[in-house]
């Protein structure tokens, strides 16, 4: 009897084999929008350093429909990204209330940022 093991090919079909893989890929994909938003912040800082006219132009550009659409999509992806990672924290750090502590930190930072931005 001879041995002739057969190695099956791995195709990208695994992504659709179970919803968990799709959810994982969406989480991975969400980093593109988070990275894109970070890049936008850097561009904003650059425009700010170039003087009031450049800054005004940047603010104008932010109001374009495409920019608003990007912000909405980026917000949805970053919420998905944060929630999925926060829910996984008890696996990495098995402490009581570790997930809740992350949500509390998120809320506290968001409130602090809104306060600094002058939202009353």
């Amino acid at each position: 009897m001879s041995r002739k093991p057969y190695a099956r090919e791995i195709s990208s079909e695994w992504i659709f084999r179970h919803p968990r893989y799709l959810r994982y890929m969406v989480r991975e994909f969400s980093c593109l929008f988070i990275g894109g938003y970070a890049l936008l912040m850097v561009v904003g800082l650059m425009r700010l350093s170039q003087g009031p006219a450049a800054w005004e132009g940047f603010l104008q550009a932010l109001q374009a429909p495409a920019s608003i659409a990007f912000h909405l999509v980026a917000l949805a992806f970053s919420i998905y990204h944060s929630v999925t990672w926060f829910n996984l924290t008890p696996k990495a750090i098995p402490l009581p209330f570790i997930s809740a502590a992350h949500y509390a930190g998120w809320a506290a930072l968001s409130i602090a940022l809104l306060w600094m931005a002058g939202v009353s």
Partner: protein
């Protein structure tokens, strides 16, 4: 005793005659309480004696009968036919080469398992007369769930990282290494760290989490892997930022 006909579509591969695997259909008269393994045994005993598959205990203890059932890694002895509608597709575990029919080549896993030294490495070997190594219930709790692993390899079949990068040491090997690292009687962490902290060790994991979802014993390999990453990170910082702490 109610019986119904179940259609099984089983992946067959005969290394002596086949160039590649093919599906074969079997109609099996099944009883309500039957699991997939019962149906396979019926095929083997009554319909086709050439069908090959691994099994032993028929009670989710030995971990031999892992296979893909409707594209999900499952133990055939723990998967009830009544939970499925229509044709049930049975394939060998994903990500492992096929030896014959549903039997896979598991040499890669066995080699990886031995690399992480999944056994007690005590600091000082005690003489037999000195009695047992004692543990408190709290110390036992730190590793008990990981010790439930029975090497069924469902986690490897579920892990896309292992499928795409076969060098990855994989979920069960890391979970078992972590099991011994968490054991108060053990002092072998440094010896396991070389395999665990390597690139193809815990760092290859991108936390899909499928390993923990498919585990029939509710071990949490995904958790173990992340905890290994955290310990390895702490090691790195201590070594590079506070080298004076090193003995």
């Amino acid at each position: 005793m109610s019986e119904r006909m179940v259609e099984l579509e089983v992946l067959r591969y005969n290394p002596e005659t086949d160039q590649e695997p093919r599906f074969q259909r079997y109609s099996v008269p099944c009883r309500e309480e039957w699991v997939v393994l019962d149906a396979l045994n019926h095929v083997k005993e009554n319909l086709d004696a050439t069908l090959s598959y691994r099994w032993s205990c028929h009670m989710a203890v030995c971990g031999s009968c892992g296979m893909m059932i409707d594209r999900e890694p499952k133990l055939a002895c723990k998967t009830f036919l009544r939970d499925y509608q229509g044709v049930i597709r049975v394939e060998p575990l994903r990500h492992f080469p096929i030896e014959r029919d549903l039997v896979t080549v598991i040499d890669d896993f066995m080699a990886k398992l031995s690399r992480v030294k999944p056994y007690l490495i005590p600091k000082d070997e005690k003489a037999l007369e000195a009695g047992e190594y004692r543990q408190t219930p709290a110390q036992l709790k730190r590793f008990k769930q990981y010790s439930m692993c029975m090497n069924c390899m469902l986690c490897y079949a579920a892990c896309p990282e292992y499928g795409l990068l076969p060098e990855y040491i994989g979920p069960a090997a890391i979970a078992l290494a972590h099991r011994w690292n968490q054991d108060s009687r053990d002092a072998g962490r440094d010896e396991r760290q070389e395999a665990l902290a390597a690139k193809e060790g815990a760092w290859e994991c991108s936390f899909v989490g499928a390993c923990s979802e498919v585990c029939p014993e509710h071990v949490d390999p995904a958790g173990a892997i992340q905890q290994v990453k955290i310990r390895s990170t702490v090691d790195w910082y201590l070594e590079h930022l506070m080298p004076w702490l090193k003995k």
